[in-house]
Structure formats: C-alpha cells, structure tokens
Amino acid sequence: MNEAAASLVADDGVPLKLKLRRAERAHKLKSVAMIAPLFLFLLLSFVLPIGTLMYRSVDNPELHRALPQTVAALAGWDTQALPDEPVFAALVRDLRKAQEESTLGLASRRLNYEISGFSSLLTKLVRKLPPEGAGVRDAVIAVDERWGQLTYWRAIARAGTPLTSFYLLKAVDHRVNEAGDIESVPANEAAYVTVFGRTFWIALIVTLWALALGFPVAYLLATLPSGPSNLLMILVLLPFWTSLLVRTAAWIVLLQSGGILNGAMIGLGLIAEPLQLVFNRFGVYVAMVHILLPFMILPLYSVMKGISPAYVRAAVSLGAHPFLAFWRVYVPQTIAGVAAGCLLVFILAIGYYITPALVGGPDDQMVSYFVAFFTNRTINWGMASALGTLLLIATLVLYAVYGKLASSDANKARR
C-alpha cells in the first residue's frame, strides 16, 4: 500500500506524496504567518518590557557609569588589604569628573544601599577633593578616616560588579556579608518576607471565602431550570462587567464610618458607635472577594453544568443519605472546577494592587504596592524589579500548574 502510494505521480511528474508534504508545510507556514504579527506585537508591548524589568533586578549600572576608573582599578583587588595608591587616584579622578558632569547622584544612592551613611561620606570627599599625585591615599584618608577602612572599599567592589544579586537577596531579606557569604539581614531591617507572606495569606483567605460563597451559588445556577438560572446568572455577570474602580468606590461608600452599612446598623440599634469596616484588612477581604467571586463561580458553574444528576439519584436510591450522596458522589465530580477556580482566584489575588491601595490600611498592602512604591516614590528601580521578578515567578509557576490542570482535563474530556 505504501509503495503504491509512493509510486503515484501527479500531472506534472512530481510524486503525490511530496506534493502533499509540500502542501502541508505551506499550510503550517501560513498558520505561523497568521500568528506572527500578534506574537511580534506582544513581544514589543509585553514580553520585552517584562524582560527589561527582570534584567533590572540584577542590573548594577550606577558605579559603572559614575566611577568607571575606580571600578576598573578595583577589578583585581584581593579585598584583604587596603587598595593601593592608583585606586585612590582613580577615585579622585572619577569623582572630579562625576562632579563636573553631575552624575554622582545615582552612584551615591547605590552605595548608600550597601552601607547607610556612604552617601554623606562621598559628598564630604567631593567637597574637599585632594589633588591627584603622590600621597593621594593619605590625603583621602585625611578627609575622613573611614576611607581607610576595608568595609567601605568592599562595598564599592560589591556595587561595582556589572550584575548584582543585591536586590533579589534583599527582596527575601538576605544579603551578602563582608566575607562574601549569604546571610539573613537583622530582624529590624527585614521587611519583604513579611510582605510576601501577607500577600499569599490574603490571597489564600480570599480564595477560601470565594470558594465558600461561590460553590453554593454555582450549584444553584447549575441545577435550576434554564429560565431562572439565566436570570440569576446576570446577577453574577453584572459585577463581572462592572469597572473594578466602581466596585471599589462602592465598597468604600458602603463601609466607611459615616457610610451606609454603619448608618443602617446604628439605625437598627445593633451598634452604638460606627465600626471601622474599611481601610483595614476586613475591607480588603470584603472588596477582593466581591471582585474575584465571579472568577470562582464561572469555572465551577461550567463543570457543574456537565455533571449528570443521575449519579446522585442513583446513590440516594441505593440508600445513601442525600448529604452523604452529595459529599461522596457529587463533590468529587466538581474537583476540576474547584481546582481551576481556586487557582485562578489565587493567581489573580496575589497580583492585586488597586483594591488594597484604596480600601486597605498601611499594614494591608501587598507586594504589588511595594513594586509601585519603589518605582514611583523612592525611585529604587532595582528593588522594584526584584520584588516584581519574584512575584512574577510565583505567578508563572501557578499559571503553569493551572495550564497542566486544564490540559489534562481537556484530555480526559476528549477520551
């Protein structure tokens, strides 16, 4: 059969098999050509920007730009003895040039991340810059004795490498110490592990609440006749389509101390004083669960819609108590929907920024807030990028799990 097929020849003398292969390849190439414009577009407006962010988390350009000669002179330094005369001379030259071109600001701030107080040390030297030439080392140390300490020179060497692990380590409350080992920072400087912990905790609580509230509603929607079900579905879809800002604003109006909920409860005599319901963790939970609930209900609904009621009926007819039948027969069939909904809500929740920023207090801010904070307020782009990179990695890992889950599910359905 194969041989017969191979011997078939088209009108123009080309074997049919070859022609078919060519046609298939052309078809495939056409498919790729149709995807290519979007792919390139996303590369420019999405992938490369995120690549830039990830690169900035290890990029270490400040000293290279402002103090190039010093960094070069320190390249072969053994970090055990004070640098030689030429290194000090290079520093003085660099500082003079940097001062003329006023490029010192970023480098000075970068060194201050390494040792606080370095910035003022640098400024002091710039103000009393000794002349180059013999004895420059002693002259510099005479300006401030700290220039004679190894700690400060090691900081310059660390900050002078082209790439740094400084920001990524700092984002998990670690640092490279004098000896070159990685250690955790002192407890009073540690901040970011708490922020990551809080982010995951808030996302977890929001996910559990969304599941607890979404499951019954999805079940109701899936089991009602299609008329009332469609009507109730609109109640789920309306918030889904409503602007996130509108919903957040509405929650502030409802929950604030002079707001509607407090007013109603005081009016009913339930409470005497208004409760603090917003600008704290409670407000964050209420608003986030509200915003993410449709993302839980919709996947649950689509799975439940495909579950035949016959199984539960069969279990009950065989003598199982309805609750037992529900728990042992119905719920296991919804696991795929539960997993998809929970992962989706969790993934979306860990990236939240706007809602906690508007309805949360200072202790309710998540990682995204600090990424924005370091970008806009303190202009510490390395730190912003490092926190962003870690958050991105967490998201992508969860997204990959979600994809695996969805595809294995699709395979099961196909079988």
Binding site: F41, L53, L235, W241, A249, A264, H290, L293, Y353
Partner: protein, 272 residues
C-alpha cells in the same frame, strides 16, 4: 424539592436558597447602592436620600478635567480595541488551523497578559517605553492597552472557531474563492459573535485600566479611570458616584450585548 423530603431536608433546602440569595445580594448590592446616590441633592454619600437632583451630572459634564479624561479614554480604548481585535482574530484563526510545534507555549504566551500581575506589566512598560521614547505618548498607552486586551480576543475567537465547520471554507475555496474572500465572506460572518465579544472584552479592559495608565500617561493623557482613582483616593464625592453610574450603564449595555450575541450564536448552532 421532592414532596417526600424530610423536615431536615426542607430546612436545608430553604437555608441553601437563603444563603445563595445573600451571596447574590452581596454581588449586586454595591452596584445598586451607588446609582441612586448620584441623583441625590445632598453632597453626603449616605441614605436616606434628601432629594432628586442632576447637579452632579451637570458638574461632571461641565468639568474640564473630567471631560478631558473622558476624551482621552475615548481615544485610547477604541484604538486599543481595534488593534487587539485585528491581531487577535488573525492569530486565533492561525492557531485553530492545525498543530505546529510549540503551539501550547505560543498559546500560553498569548494568554499571559491576563494573569501577569498588572503592576509588573506597568513597571516593565514604564522602563521599556522610557528607553524607546514611548513614555507619555498616546501610541505607548494604546499599545499597552491593546496587549492587555489580546487574551480575551484570543479566547473568545478560538472558542467560536471550535464550533466552525472547516468544510465551509473548503467548499468556498473549491468554488474558486481566493483565501481572503473565503475569510471575509464565509468565516468572518460566522465567527462574528466571538469577534465582537472579544472586542467588547478588550474595550472593557482598556476602559477600566488604571495601573498601566498611572505609569505611562502624562498629566494631559489622564484617562477616566485614572481621574476616578485620584478622586477615590482623596475624597469620594457624588461626582464619583455619577461617573460610576455612567460606567455601570455602560457595563449593563455590554452585558446585554454579550447575552444577545450568545443567544444568537446558540440559535445559529441549533439551526445548523
């Protein structure tokens, strides 16, 4: 509920309905509550309402800042929608034409703008656009918003194409129609509901986008959500309630359009 249900089952049945009712109330209450406040004559956002008034709407439409924000949103959102819909539809058609190596990965990348935390996208774009000179430009803002809308177009159009019968294209081609004619005369009319839903999603995404805009837009490019964000952060005024109401009306319109498209699609399928 079966007539032979035990009392516990009866109680449970009603309790279940009450719980669902409360959850549904929780979902729609905030949206319903803010609408009447925009027509309230008092400047306090509390009930009971003190009287009907259109003054906040007059304030909104008379305010230079709000009108500028509205104008910017109406420049950016439709442009981003057109970009996302054209690129997205073309790619979705390519994706459903058959298998090729790395298809799953390509699909994952095309969908990823939906899951990557928005702040990361915003900061990345801020760095990147600063390097290539697209910061504080309409072009940059439109490109960014289009990227965020792409996944929705891909998802809805691929879903619609799954129900498309490829033999129709083959029939058209065998009758001599060139590929472009096949696409515009046969494929597009049939998948239009999916394309329009994707476009609506993309529009809603851009029209509601605030984080990327905060990072990329210059003060004169303030969009409606950005103006609103500032307003909510400082002090929620009834003008905010009135903007919220306008946006809710818009969402209702989009929701109804989607429902209509879905039913039409179902009917077409049912007839076919």
């Amino acid at each position: 509920m079966q007539p032979y249900a035990t009392p516990i089952e009866r109680v449970w049945f009603y309790a279940f309905r009450v719980i669902c009712g409360l959850v549904l109330l929780y979902l729609v209450l905030p949206i319903l509550v803010i609408v009447p406040l925009s027509f309230n004559s008092s400047s306090f956002l509390t009930y009971p309402l003190s009287g009907f008034s259109m003054r906040w709407y007059e304030e909104f439409f008379g305010s230079h800042e709000w009108m500028m924000a509205l104008k910017n949103s109406l420049i950016v959102a439709p442009s981003a929608t057109v970009l996302a819909t054209c690129f997205g539809t073309l790619a979705a058609v390519g994706l459903t034409r058959g298998e090729f190596p790395g298809k799953a990965l390509v699909m994952a990348i095309l969908i990823s703008p939906m899951v990557v935390p928005i702040v990361i996208v915003a900061v990345g774009l801020y760095f990147f656009f600063a390097d290539i000179g697209l910061l504080n430009t309409y072009a940059g803002l439109i490109l960014a918003h289009a990227a965020l809308g792409v996944p929705f177009v891909i998802i809805t159009v691929t879903a619609t194409l799954q129900g498309y019968n490829t033999n129709l294209s083959r029939a058209a081609a065998s009758l001599g129609a060139p590929p472009l004619t096949v696409f515009f005369k046969v494929v597009l009319p049939l998948i239009l509901p999916g394309v329009v839903s994707g476009a609506l999603f993309a529009f809603a995404t851009s029209f509601d986008e605030v984080v990327v805009t905060l990072f990329l837009a210059s003060p004169t490019q303030r969009t409606l959500p950005q103006q609103m964000f500032g307003g909510i952060r400082e002090n929620i005024s009834p003008t905010i309630a009135c903007v919220a109401t306008i946006m809710i009306v818009l969402s209702v319109l989009m929701l109804l359009t989607m429902e209509w498209l879905r039913r039409r699609n179902e009917k077409l399928r049912g007839a076919g």
